[in-house]
């Protein structure tokens, strides 16, 4: 532009070139992350076509060549998926466990946070909080050993006690009866501390004078909790609740794979979509059905998140994701 119109001051051109330089430099900062996203997140999205193909190995046996040469089969993979009896079980398990986790995670964590905030000794409250939060930082592999210490068929505490008291010894890793409770318990063990800490942080942020004013007006402790604490936690509860509803089709792989020690006899109560996708591909090499299940999970999950976010935006526009 400066060439065409000589009256434009030189400062302007140097400004625009420095602006371009700035954009370039800032862009170069984002480049490593962007490259990672493109290679590890966006490139696999093209693999979605696997769900609609009969994936086989061709010559030369490279991924792209196989994908291109494999035959389109339309929705056949999905049809097979829905014919399989496993599918109903894994969808049921994923949904039911998540519903229980969401409800307990909300009620128990809020209750614990309120209890912690009402304790007179700050030191003891802090100690409880610290210990409750600890399992959140351990892996499911470690957790599976913790459980094994109690349930191990030969040396575990519980089979041993059953033996001593003359009861029938349960083979815990083959008997499905108690596993729904064990799974829920394990999830509480690992994650309640985390949500409790979040709610406790929100309670700590509530203006103390509100409670004092309520007390002066003769509100009982219970009324203060109902009319001061809970309304102040509402936004946080809604966000966490709806975000977890958005992830209702996703399961924690480690919880359902490691904690039951990958035991085949427990599949009816521990198989979830994530473990199915893994097993169908890694153990049976079934690319089509595992991709179909994975895609189904991603699409439904995507819709859930969009819907959840829409609801959040209606309730509280500031806390919506996008």
């Amino acid at each position: 532009m400066s060439v065409i119109n000589p009256r434009v001051p030189r400062r302007f051109t140097s400004m625009s070139s420095s602006r371009r330089k700035k954009a370039l430099l800032l862009g170069s900062m984002a480049a490593p992350g962007a490259l990672w996203l493109l290679l590890l997140r966006y490139l696999p999205m093209f693999g979605i076509v696997l769900a609609f193909k009969d994936y086989r190995a061709y010559k030369p046996n490279t991924f792209w060549n196989n994908i291109i040469k494999s035959e389109w089969v339309g929705f056949d993979n999905f049809r097979f998926l829905f014919k399989s009896p496993d599918t109903g079980i894994m969808i049921r398990n994923t949904l039911l466990y998540n519903i229980v986790f969401i409800i307990l995670g909300l009620v128990v964590a809020v209750a614990f946070a309120i209890m912690l905030s009402e304790l007179t000794s700050r030191f003891v409250a802090k100690a409880y909080q610290t210990m409750m939060f600890f399992p959140y930082f351990l892996s499911w592999v470690v957790a599976s050993y913790f459980l094994l210490a109690f349930l191990d068929p030969t040396s575990g505490v519980i089979p041993h006690l059953q033996k001593l008291s003359g009861q029938e010894v349960i083979n815990w890793y083959h008997d499905t009866t108690y596993w729904p409770y064990i799974i829920v318990g394990a999830n509480m063990w690992k994650n309640i501390g985390y949500s409790t800490v979040l709610y406790l942080a929100a309670i700590t942020g509530i203006d103390r004078t509100l409670y004092e004013a309520a007390a002066v007006d003769g509100a009982t402790k219970w009324q203060q909790i109902r009319h001061v604490t809970l309304p102040n936690l509402r936004t946080m509860m809604t966000i966490l609740f709806i975000l977890s509803v958005g992830r209702i089709f996703n399961a924690d792989f480690g919880l359902f794979y490691n904690v039951p020690l990958n035991s085949g006899s427990l599949y009816s109560v521990t198989q979830v979509i994530d473990t199915y996708v893994y097993r169908a591909y890694m153990n049976s090499g079934n690319v089509g059905m595992s991709s179909a299940a994975g895609l189904l999970q991603n699409v439904v999950g995507f819709l859930c998140i969009i819907a959840a976010n829409g609801i959040v935006r209606k309730i509280d526009p500031d806390s919506s994701l996008f």
Partner: protein, 311 residues
């Protein structure tokens, strides 16, 4: 003066507090749950200090008949595989944490700069992957066959280098602690973009960097899924978490099938690392976390609170 104030504070707390029986009930409930959270770890420590013979006879016990450090002696005698995997865990954690913090900071900083015109593009590029993905199978095939993430350290580090969630946490830290004027002033004083980031901005957002570093270090330390996916033969590079997982499987397999495999395999099963040894390894994994925990808890709480509210 000070004691008088805390005294009156305590009295005012007491005034508007729950009644003593209710508070006792709270202590019982919270105490029981706390025990539920912490006892399994203490139990595993106790088992690791129990004599193997006592376990064979009485099973695991909170009050072992015979205490012993034989499991730890065994760990120290037992050579390579264990120490190698322990080293791998540290190596993966350190390299992964340094690289991922760097990438996260570098990605979050331009997103925080309002005068960066392409920020919206990079924002969406990162955010979209939070709500949609290719799924396990396509990701696995691409990583393994196209990107060569197989049987090498990169396979255990690269897939976790970047997380949109951490970018949001980092960006929020930047937004709340770095004033725009500071960056404008630095630019006018002739500071280059990289210089501004590392010399001026970084010292201010140290708490944010610490938070991201801790979250990533924990994620890498606890990682076993990537090893399960990408490491089939090269057992020299597996982390301790995955070694423990494999030991569980192998021992189970041998214990269940020893009668089918004959005496030779049964002998192998007996010579496999003992029960106390495995528990000792669990202690080895958890102790670094337990030791660092009191120091990092504060940072992680800050980070997660920000991430959950703004995320």
């Amino acid at each position: 003066m000070l004691s008088a104030r805390t005294g009156s504070q305590r009295r005012s707390r007491r005034l508007n507090a729950v009644s003593l029986p209710v508070e006792t009930l709270f202590h019982v409930i919270l105490g029981l749950f706390t025990l539920f959270c912490i006892v399994p770890f203490l139990f595993v420590i106790i088992i690791s200090f129990t004599a193997e013979d006592a376990i064979r006879e009485f099973g695991y016990s909170f009050l072992p008949q015979i205490w012993s450090v034989e499991a730890y002696q065994y760990v120290f005698q037992l050579g390579d595989a264990l120490w190698r995997s322990y080293f791998n865990s540290f190596y993966i954690t350190i390299v992964g944490t340094v690289l991922s913090v760097l990438i996260t900071l570098l990605y979050a900083y331009p997103l925080f700069r309002k005068d960066f015109r392409q920020r919206q593009f990079f924002n969406i590029l990162s955010f979209f992957t939070m709500i949609f993905g290719g799924g396990l199978v396509p990701t696995y095939i691409i990583c393994k066959n196209v990107l060569g993430l197989s049987e090498n350290y990169a396979a255990l580090i690269v897939p976790m280098l970047f997380s949109p969630f951490n970018v949001i946490i980092m960006r929020t830290f930047l937004q709340t602690s770095v004033p725009t004027e500071l960056i404008e002033a630095a630019t006018i004083d002739g500071s280059g973009e990289y210089n501004t980031l590392f010399k001026i901005v970084m010292p201010i957002v140290k708490p944010g960097v610490a938070t991201i570093a801790l979250l990533n270090a924990l994620a890498y330390w606890n990682e076993w899924f990537l090893a399960l996916l990408y490491i089939r033969q090269n057992t020299d590079i597996i982390p301790l978490q995955y070694l423990l997982m494999k030991m569980q499987r192998n021992a189970d397999f041998l214990a269940k099938n020893s009668h089918l495999l004959g005496t030779e395999a049964a002998n192998v099963a007996v010579n496999l690392p003992s029960q106390t040894l495995k528990m000792a390894l669990v202690v080895f994994i958890v102790v670094p976390i337990a030791c660092a925990y009191p120091f990092f808890q504060r940072f992680v709480v800050a980070g997660l609170t920000i991430g959950s509210v703004k995320g």
